[in-house]
Subunit: 466 residues, 2 copies
């Protein structure tokens, strides 16, 4: 069992450190029994077969072998993998790939370290068309990821790609370049795979899209991209182990959830995630989906109308010190900030002392870029604290598959705990149906004639155009 | 004079369309006199030499010629341009370059259409180191952008790069690959350029960083990248012309400001910008700085403590329908959404009817990806409206330099108008100083010994680590 490396530092959440805006010892101990109750319910749900994401760190080695084998097959025929998926089918793989290969990963061709991973997470033809331009169809594989097999964006892209591949390479070669990741039994992709031999992986039914990065949804693309998915799972397992305690201040996931909910109840309806590393921006976007879609709910479990939800914001340090920090320092007391800091950046650059006579430059000489960005992170969190602006930091020892596995599991568990504290269901997303149906109506899908009419009635036309 | 193409559709802000959460006719007419007064003050400020961004669309053709000449020189010796700049020195060029060359612009080498533009907007050595790995130093130019010439991140990167270039190519060739964009008279970059011959451009002193994209700060990098900067300015000029009226409902910038402030006063402390195009995500990040740093203020003009500011969130359609939409539909009534829709995506892909017997796919056959994404935008805005969730849309005819110039000017003017309505100064950023000074203290800069001590006192150590 790997040792947990990620730590939660919550000093700047506390009244005794930042003053009246912080939580008191009583506030924290007041949250403890709520957490303990929610912990029990989560345990019951898990035993009842829900919360499948908790089982992912311990997935069977057969499945992992099958994933690695498939990745090896795809790597042998293709340099690039295009993921056709959106939302939970896209964000996790992007987060891990960006973290490990860097924000500029597209600026070099695929190398021996694994396939280049493109993620077609929008139906926008300008973007998707450019993506198809960038790859060599003959040397590209496509992972179609949709649990239902009816996601409009993903399935449209699949239809476009399938025709392109067949025209260029013939049916047999086209099918070799496809892999489906979908429901283990039903849905349109299963239906298609009955007639046409396509490699296929199942997603456990009790693992929702936004909790699926450690299932084949994330693991297959990441294995193709050459990442150590075993290490990713080991990191998740280490964090799962560290998060077994029902005791609030001994369980980083529960504490993180309690801080967020505690501050939300005090009017902080915005939760900023600000990693001090450009390569972690994808992780912040992955978390934004997890937090928003899980907790933004109209109804509580008892059926009452609550309209809760804290709005996640993906920011980036040090960059956003020159963009959002002014607002965070002086604006309304409506935010809580989660910093992600790095103990080790994995590389560094020394700053030479080229202009010893210029004061504003000479202090930098002899230091390094890592020292500078780490000093900035410390200074920014402290500056906010000095103004009574609460924050906490996830201290990451560095960026590695293990660390990412830890962070992913930590945040997933924290999210369902927050759902427990808010007494809502963190696993569904009923609010997105109406927009889908209206869109079906507009696209003329059979059975959605009513929605087409509703759409007409809602359309405001050009009456208020300036 | 180019004709304005961008229109503001505000139907879904109105009580008569979306119900009680909307603004009534009285609400709007109540805002009109405030806008008229602020309009007058803005006019006085402009006449008094402030608000320099308003003069940028009409900049001298000599300056533009000098920029184009410099871009031609750099293009002749380099394939890639790296911008060393952060915040306002980075976001504008990124926004326009990403919009025109696409989110995947790094996935292909520089071509005849212009240099590849890298923007080093973080001091993170992992990111910046990777950037330096990706370029061929001999064929790379560097634009150092800092008004003061003392921005720690930018100047550190400059020192690193200058040494690298000198070692590899010698001093003379190193200097040829540099260009400074800074204060027209003072600052460290001017000082350096006195001794060492480096091409240099000035930024008008009355143009702050976040309003500077149409000055040499944005224009030089964009000209290097092969974009039509003249057309960008013409678009801005067309929008400036359309925004001359003091009448609220005839002036898109003023109306946009009034809607944002009107809803902010009703408790909507979050402003989402959601373009329905991946390539416009950089524009949303540029706007996030403009809005946050301009309006997030502790003090009003009269010295009273107000702590105002609406938090901008950069989202993306259709992608975030599978991420944030659940929260937008069902969460608290604390948001206003600005959609950016496209009349024309510039390219399209037809969806073939490969599986006529599968209902969930066959309706897509014969349609196109542009039709799908446009239907989704309409459906999502309508679905939100049906739940009394206000939004408005900027309707862009397409993505072009002219359109981007229009949008940039529109949003800059709307931001200063919003500052007028909120009675704060939208041009300063006093709140970021403390973090900078604490960071200087940590880095041992002379004269910041006091801050080093303050930093020690603020540091909470490892006392609250889980």
């Amino acid at each position: 069992m790997a040792k947990r490396g990620v730590k939660l530092d919550y000093a700047y959440c506390l009244e005794e450190v930042i003053g009246a805006q912080g939580l008191s010892a009583q506030d924290i101990s007041g949250l403890a029994p709520q957490v303990a109750r929610a912990h029990q319910r989560l345990g019951e749900q898990h035993q009842g077969g829900e919360l499948g994401f908790m089982d992912l760190p311990g997935q069977s080695s057969e499945l992992l072998d099958a994933i690695l084998e498939q990745a090896a097959r795809l790597s042998s025929i293709a340099d690039d993998l295009v993921v056709l998926g959106i939302g939970g089918s896209a964000l996790g793989a992007t987060a891990v790939d960006m973290a490990l290969k860097g924000a500029l990963r597209y600026a070099q061709p695929a190398g021996p370290e694994g396939m280049r991973l493109f993620v077609a997470d929008n139906s926008d033809p300008r973007f998707f068309g450019a993506m198809l331009d960038r790859v060599d169809l003959e040397r590209t594989a496509f992972a179609v990821i949709s649990k239902s097999g009816s996601t409009a964006e993903t399935m449209s892209q699949f239809l476009v790609v399938k025709e392109l591949l067949e025209r260029r390479l013939g049916k047999k070669e086209a099918l070799r370049r496809l892999v489906f990741i979908t429901d283990p039994e039903k849905g349109n992709l299963r239906l298609i795979a009955k007639d046409e031999p396509v490699a296929i992986f199942g997603v456990p039914p009790n693992v929702g899209g936004r909790y699926s990065v450690l299932s084949p949804v994330g693991l297959l693309p990441l294995a193709c991209a050459g990442h150590d998915v075993q290490a990713l799972l080991e990191g998740a397992a280490a964090m799962a182990e560290a998060c077994k305690s029902p005791e609030l201040t001994k369980n980083p996931a529960y504490l993180l959830a309690a801080l967020n909910v505690g501050f939300y109840r005090r009017g902080r309806n915005i939760l900023v995630m600000m990693p001090y590393a450009t390569d972690l921006f994808g992780l912040a976007q992955w978390f934004a989906q997890l937090w928003a879609e899980s907790l933004g709910k109209a109804q509580a479990l008892d059926g009452s109308t609550v309209n809760v939800g804290q709005t996640p914001v993906a920011a980036m340090g040090a960059t956003d010190q020159h963009s959002q920090l002014q607002l965070y320092m002086e604006g309304p007391q409506d935010k809580l900030i989660m910093f992600l800091t790095l103990g080790n950046y994995g590389r560094d650059l020394s700053i030479p002392d080229l202009y010893p006579r210029i004061d504003a430059l000479s202090y930098l000489g002899g230091r390094s870029l890592a020292e500078l960005v780490q000093a900035e992170a410390r200074a920014t969190t402290a500056a906010l604290a000095s103004q009574g602006r609460p924050s906490y930091s996830l201290r990451l020892p560095g960026i590695s598959p293990e660390v990412l596995g830890e962070v992913i599991y930590l945040l997933e568990l924290a999210t369902v705990m927050a759902g427990g504290l808010l007494k809502i269901n963190p696993l569904d997303q009923p609010g997105v149906e109406l927009s889908k149906k209206l869109s079906y109506g507009l696209m003329g899908r059979k059975g959605f004639e009513q929605e087409a009419k509703q759409m007409e009635a809602l359309d405001a036309g050009d009456n208020y155009l300036v």
